[in-house]
């Protein structure tokens, strides 16, 4: 049984034929070739599959694609505008917050959502917002510094 879904991904209208059992993560990676979003566990424990749905971070491995019908989805590929990196992408590079990089897309998107709602978060708020993304390389310290460095540089809707 296939269901047609229409959604906006990174600002573009998209359509896909999906089975009810396909997760948003599978559809993003396999139907739309957006492989920047990762699957680290498939069970919502690691956070590497986090994308923004209507501005909010969700574990796309636990969201059925049919539930994304009509939604605005932002993946890591949607942050830069052309050659201009999003301030968070820039600060992650500059602060050395990227080691193996597998968690970077999820960390950046989670941070973007935070800064879009709380423009000047405390360290506690930064940590809580990113608490669902595991980083085994242990880049947490520099990730917090990178988020702090982007404060004031992002605008909602970026």
């Amino acid at each position: 049984m296939k269901i047609s879904i229409n959604l906006t991904i990174n600002g573009r209208s998209c359509q896909a034929e999906v089975e009810p059992r396909n997760t948003l993560l599978e559809v993003l990676r396999n139907n739309f070739y957006l492989t920047g979003t990762k699957e680290g566990c498939g069970l919502g424990d690691c956070g590497t599959c986090i994308v923004l749905v209507n501005g909010k971070p969700v574990n796309s491995c636990l969201m059925l694609a049919v539930d994304a019908q009509g939604s605005q989805v932002i993946t890591i590929e949607g942050l830069a505008s052309g050659d201009n990196l999003h301030p968070l992408q820039q600060s992650f590079i500059e602060k050395g917050a990227v080691q193996c990089g597998f968690c970077s897309p999820a960390m950046i998107l989670s941070a973007k959502s935070l800064l879009d709602t709380i423009p000047e978060p405390s360290d506690e708020e930064i940590k809580r917002a990113l608490s669902g993304v595991l980083c085994r390389c242990g880049s947490y310290k520099k990730i917090i510094e990178a988020v702090r460095a982007a404060v004031g540089k992002t605008r909602e809707g970026n």
Partner: protein, 766 residues
């Protein structure tokens, strides 16, 4: 040579790809016609396979191959060739691959493996290494003596002991008699998982007309895997091609054939269609590899003023079902039990034992996290008994420049004292501080370690400069996440004399990129750095020769810096691009230089007769000092602050060094406090990241990385290494800090709240 990049915190060259989602990891490789693999695994810890019926699996729509051990009866192993691609005849751990399926979709493959019927006859299993070492234990590898293996490792035939080693220096018995005090303690360090965020994955393709296997993977040592696979299959090295991708973390866990061997098996039977095997998180946790659990008995004799004079160590290492790299860890890693200390009389007896559990092998630290726990907790036990400050007793015994290592190698560039002083200073050691209040108690602890690198190993590279002066460094360095490629680019740019932007470092591909031992043992900066330096300097020489020709000047009066040719007392003469354009003109051309480094002839390795193999071309030292807070009501331990001082020789990229140090502090805290395999008859019960807990960002202590530079005489620009040592000191430092806070001594890892409360209860009774 002007250093524009070496020593500077150059931004990671791979970061942009990673923050934009463009970086291709092994899990992202997608090829035309690619199939998906799934693996059926043993539910028993030890059992005979009676028969396997894959017929129902074959009839699932989309299934292209169903394979069992009988179809592919080869074995592999980097040190002892004991591991089948798919179980043959018996299974030795819960999770061992028994059959595999390749299908059009992941769903079809997963559905198909459920339909494979296997009949087992359960055998008695053994889970404890001391028990497994006994002659009465069930034999896990009956054929151990007939396995081909590296002659370096001694097995005990007819037992489960797959590596037995010992080393002795001086006269420990005499030392104990002469000691003023003798300490005997037993320690235990548990197995932990690597849990990289990217689980193991590989794509393999078998090109039957050429007899070639091509494998895409994030393995940290493409050439070594290539050799292991080629040897297993009895085919030439150039019939196995490893193509590297970015790695989503390895930490030693991708230093073996894991997903690769399963992808290869399936690829053999899919008529040339590539097959991807991507481990489920459950498979990474239960059926890949773990750190080697160790039981350590440590006896140390000291003089009353704190000088160590004798030590005897006995270590039981728990190998799990197959050897992997554990033999080397149990021999080389074991030697770090003596710490960075002068001990004139010493002995170690080390036994690596098979058990019916998940394979254990290489893990960040390669034995030092285990040995350091024992060594450094006992140092504090000794210090306390003798009434000496824990920092002072370490300073007293620590190696200094010119000391002999345990095999007679003269130690140079010894930064341990500086790491001790700086780490201690970093948390205000010795200064008054809050001891906590109410149910919260605070304490400080310190631990120091020594870590060598596998010696000798080789790195080779080729550097080509194209006619527009753009440079490609052709090497087998894999970007495992630690910034290796950036460091290589920095070294190349400065060695040649060009801007960093000129440098490109493509991924390793054993068909094209020359030999390298791999990203392991913290060796890359040193070994590949030296090779790249050599090639870069050679390239520079050729550039200047060409420039001399073009400018009609003596090349010895020329230099190249920042992509410009400079003449002595005349200044900038010409841009490099222009020189090459004039040289090569319309037809084009390139300059190629090769570089190679292997330390085997270095006089720095000289040692007592017959003991040179124990030398290391560089020794790194690290000290971590921590402050913890213990909730005496719940037993929960919180690490508040860590000062981590590491002797890196020379920081080629200080930011990368910080990343490694900060990162491994997090990993070490996580290993010591949160991580534990919960087993039920050999089956791992906590097989998800919800229940196998690793540190989150909320668990981050205040971390201060401190770089100590002792300038290695033969390292590139003085560099040594940093990645591996860092995970070792934190475990013992935490245990020591808990003692400082509460007077309770925890001699095993992990340190759980239950153990803390139990120890408090015992202390109250005394």
């Amino acid at each position: 040579m002007k250093l524009n990049y070496v020593g500077k915190p150059v931004l990671r060259l791979d970061a942009k790809e990673k923050v934009t989602g463009q970086a291709v990891y092994s899990v992202d490789i997608d090829l035309p016609g690619m199939l998906h693999g799934a693996v059926l695994r043993s539910p028993f810890a030890h059992a005979e396979i009676i028969d396997i019926d894959g017929s129902a699996a074959r009839s699932v729509a989309g299934v292209r191959a169903v394979v069992t051990g009988k179809d592919f009866p080869y074995t592999f192993g980097p040190m002892i060739k004991d591991q089948p691609f798919l179980a043959c005849g018996k299974v030795r751990y819960v999770g061992e691959p028994v059959a595999a399926v390749a299908a059009d979709t992941e769903s079809a493959a997963q559905e198909a493996i459920e339909k494979i019927k296997v009949n087992y006859r359960e055998l008695a299993a053994v889970f404890d290494p001391q028990e497994a070492a006994r002659k009465t234990a069930p034999l896990i590898h009956e054929d151990l003596e007939n396995y081909s293996r590296s002659p370096v490792f001694t097995i005990v035939p007819g037992t489960n002991i797959c590596t037995s080693s010992s080393y002795r220096l001086g006269n420990p018995d005499k030392g104990f008699v002469e000691a003023d005090a003798v300490f005997e303690d037993e320690f235990y360090v548990h197995a932990v998982a690597h849990t990289p965020m990217e689980t193991h994955a590989a794509v393999a393709q078998y090109q039957s007309a050429k007899g070639v296997y091509v494998i895409w993977s994030a393995t940290d040592g493409p050439y070594r895997r290539c050799k292991e696979l080629a040897q297993a299959l009895g085919i030439p090295l150039n019939k196995v091609r490893f193509i590297s991708t970015y790695s989503g973390g390895g930490f030693g866990g991708k230093g073996a054939l894991v997903a690769e061997s399963l992808a290869v098996v399936l690829a053999r039977f899919t008529d040339g269609r590539p097959v991807r095997v991507h481990f489920l998180r459950e498979e990474e946790l239960t059926a890949s590899q773990t750190r080697i659990a160790a039981l350590i008995k440590l006896k140390t004799g000291v003089k009353k003023e704190g000088t160590l004079i004798a030590r005897r160590a006995e270590i039981f290492w728990d190998n799990g079902a197959y050897a992997s790299k554990a033999p080397e860890v149990s021999v080389r890693g074991a030697l770090s039990i003596f710490g960075p200390y002068r001990i004139p009389n010493l002995e170690i007896i080390s036994k690596l034992v098979y058990t019916n559990k998940e394979i254990s092998g290489a893990y960040r630290g390669y034995g030092t996290p285990q040995t350091a726990f024992a060594c450094e907790v006992q140092m504090d036990i000794i210090a306390e008994k003798l009434g000496i400050d824990p920092l002072q007793i370490r300073l007293k015994n620590a190696f200094v420049e010119g000391d002999s290592y345990i095999n007679g190698q003269i130690l140079q560039n010894v930064g341990v004292t500086e790491t001790l002083e700086k780490a201690a200073g970093g948390i205000d050691w010795g200064k008054p501080r809050s001891k906590g209040s109410g149910t919260k108690a605070r304490g400080r602890g310190i631990a120091t370690i020594i870590k060598g690198t596998k010696t000798p190993t080789e790195s080779k590279c080729v550097i080509k400069m194209d006619s527009d002066a753009s440079v490609t460094v052709i090497s087998s360095v894999v970007e495992v996440g630690a910034g290796q490629k950036t460091i290589m680019a920095q070294i190349a740019a400065d060695a040649i004399g060009v801007p960093l932007e000129f440098i490109s470092i493509p991924n390793a591909d054993t068909q094209h990129t020359p030999y390298d031992f791999g990203q392991t043992s913290s060796r890359t900066t040193y070994h590949m750095g030296n090779a790249i330096c050599a090639a870069g300097l050679e390239l520079r020489k050729r550039i200047l020769h060409i420039a001399g020709d073009i400018l009609k000047t003596d090349p010895s009066k020329l230099s190249v810096s920042d992509g410009k040719i400079i003449e002595e007392s005349k200044g900038e003469r010409m841009a490099l691009q222009e020189v090459l354009a004039k040289k090569f003109g319309g037809p084009g051309g390139a300059i190629v230089a090769e570089g190679s480094y292997c330390p085997s002839d270095s006089h720095m390795l000289n040692a007592s007769p017959g003991l040179k193999s124990m030398s290391s071309i560089f020794w790194t030292f690290a000290t971590q000092a921590v402050e913890v807070e213990v909730d005496t009501g719940t037993g929960v331990v919180k690490v508040l602050e860590v000062a981590a001082a590491h002797d890196v020789g020379r920081a080629i990229n200080p930011m990368s060094c910080e990343q490694q140090i900060e990162g491994s502090v997090v990993m070490g805290v996580s290993n010591a406090l949160f991580e534990e395999f919960r087993l039920d008859k050999g089956r791992v019960m906590n097989d998800t990241l919800a229940d196998y807990k690793i540190a989150t960002i909320m668990d981050l202590p205040k971390t201060t990385p401190i770089l100590v530079e002792s300038y290695h005489a033969e390292g590139p620009f003085g560099a040594k290494g940093v990645g591996e040592p860092a995970a070792a000191p934190i475990g013992p430092a935490i245990s020591n800090a808990i003692f400082d806070a509460l007077g309770i001594r925890i001699k095993e890892l992990p340190i759980t709240p239950e153990k803390v409360l139990e120890a408090l209860r015992k202390k109250k009774k005394e």
